[in-house]
Amino acid sequence: MSAVLPGEIELEHASRAFRVRGERGATLKEVVLRRRGRRGGPPPVRALDDVTLHVAPGETLGIVGRNGAGKSSILRVLAGIVPLDSGRAECGGEVVTLLELGAGFGRDFTGRENIYLNGALHGLSRAQVEARMEEIVAFSELGDFVDVPVRTYSSGMLVRLGFSIAAHLDADVMLIDEVLAVGDEAFQRKCLTRISERIEAGVTLVLVSHAPGAIERVCERVVVLDGGRVAFDGPAPEALLHYHRMLGTEHGAGAALRAGPADRVLAVTEVELQDGDGRTRHVFHSGEAMRVVFTVLARGPSASPQLALEFRDQRGNPVFNTSRTLELDGAGAQLVLEIPHLALLGGDYDLVCSAHEADDPDPGIDRLAGFSVADEPGVRGVADLRGTWTAAEPVRVAT
């Protein structure tokens, strides 16, 4: 077994499977039954399947993948919280984790007391925590709230406290999961700046996120996970493109987001993005024609069926949404939305949609289709409002 340097990460043929259980924990009865060889339930889920990965000290790695692709499992294995079934995982030096919102917080402790507790969890002494206290409190921008029990905190405040603590522990490796997405825009930017400083100081960073924006800004290298395996490993731009292509093509078009649309009377079962000529596409140019083909399934009579759709930017903000009454005869229908001129600028977008009763208070999302719009020179933003420039009458200033 070779020793790893501080800040170095090594995974060699790492595999880990989880049994799926309805109820957590086993009772003696279950243990006895299992001994008799009566095994029930679904087969184990392979969260990590023969993953080999080497991260050099000071490298910044992003991990993307769909839900259940093994992103969180990798972090928990690297943090030493979950052991491997086979293979080897090593993380050199001090490892600081930020895995979940408010994990490791005592709810009845004040913010300040939680700083002590979290410092202690990472092996710091009282003096070491006290030396950092003011800096952490200042960074968190919590003000007087730092002396109030955290059970009164909003999720944004929890993120600020959690991140402020993690960012001020002397880490060689930082493992950060998803959490950043909860904070407000200004604090996110501050976090990213702080992360960049830590990276310059030689810290190795592993960032798992659904927000490709954050990963793109911070990480040089990105690993795409799929079904517990490494589907792509390379420079960030290529990896993110690969990820989007994977999301688009996996199901022919769009991923199912609802586990069981089967129990709903109405559901969108397929979304396909096409170009003006009817060919399936996932990368578009601004101003091109786009066709969206929806397949809606109806399992019974419906009073006022409607189809709702929303375009979202990469942060999940709505860009455009609309709905339309459906005319269903029989089992279902196919609808086409023709967009003659795609007025979006470069970036990644998601199209989410659902079919439901018009008065459904919580329609949710049936399907998602991701697509990218290629960057255009000289313009930035979301909406394509490019027009033509002409010289107007010369302006005369009255004297």
Partner: protein, 260 residues
């Protein structure tokens, strides 16, 4: 382990804060419960129901000395058994020595025990005139009692994380175990015990808590040194309990984040 001394302190604070949060008495509840039990048992066995054959001389002191040992032991195991589950959000998401979770619970119980001992001991010394050099052995017995309770607490805590029957089994076992521990009686003085020698052996030596009760009572109530047999038993039981509990915990803690 030394590196995590501060963590330990913080975990004890966390334990103190969480158990009786929002209650008016707060931490004092740790004392209210045993004091209420002592009052109830005192009334029952000391006043209303005289156990035949036991010494009646300062009976309440005799009873309380045994009772506080038992309360420490049983409360440590009972509250430790669910401790990992209660702290599952921490255990599943942060890497730290997990022993500190059940251990901090036992330390809180130890503090309770020491406070009760500090209440009972001076009274016993005055009323019984039991001040003697044997008192120097008391810290040894208490340390061994702590080691045994800690070892078993580690075992039941990890056991309960894997099999959720451990805590209910333990809770059910505590009542008969209480009666099989010489707390409100002395085995050798029970009527007819000389015809059932095995019963006396069972009550005195097979039950691991009995020698601790005996030892503490010898010193505090009788003002004499415990027998060599009791001292040897106490030392060995403490050492075996702690080592075995720790080994079991180390072996099984790997999957802890998964099973919780």
């Amino acid at each position: 382990m030394l590196r995590y001394r501060f963590l330990f302190e913080q975990m004890v604070r966390r334990e103190l804060r969480q158990r009786y949060k929002g209650s008016a008495l707060g931490v004092l509840w740790y004392l209210v419960n045993p004091l209420a039990l002592m009052a109830a048992y005192g009334l029952m066995f000391g006043v209303l129901l005289k156990v035949p054959g036991t010494r009646t001389e300062d009976y309440l002191l005799f009873l309380f000395v045994g009772l506080i040992v038992w309360l420490f032991f049983s409360q440590s195991l009972l509250s430790a058994s669910g401790s990992l589950l209660e702290q599952s959000s921490l255990v599943a998401r942060v890497r730290f020595p997990r022993e500190t979770v059940p251990a901090s619970v036992v330390v809180v119980q130890l503090v309770t025990f020491l406070v009760l001992l500090a209440l009972v001991l001076p009274v016993a010394l005055i009323v019984r005139g039991s001040l003697s050099p044997a008192l120097l052995l008391l810290p040894v017995i208490v340390a061994c009692l702590f080691a045994l309770a800690l070892g078993l607490a580690l075992a039941v805590a990890i056991g309960h994380a894997y099999f959720r029957d451990v805590q209910p089994i333990l809770a059910a076992a505590m009542v008969p175990w209480f009666f099989l521990t010489p707390i409100f009686y002395e085995p050798s003085k029970l009527p007819g015990i000389d015809r059932h020698q095995w019963a006396e052996t069972l009550l005195t030596w097979v039950n691991p808590v009995a020698p601790f009760v005996q030892g503490v009572r010898d010193i505090v109530y009788d003002g004499r040194a415990p027998s060599a047999g009791v001292m040897a038993y106490v030392l060995v039981a403490g050492a075996i309990g702690l080592v075995a509990g720790q080994l079991l915990f180390r072996r099984a803690e790997g999957e802890l984040a998964v099973v919780l």
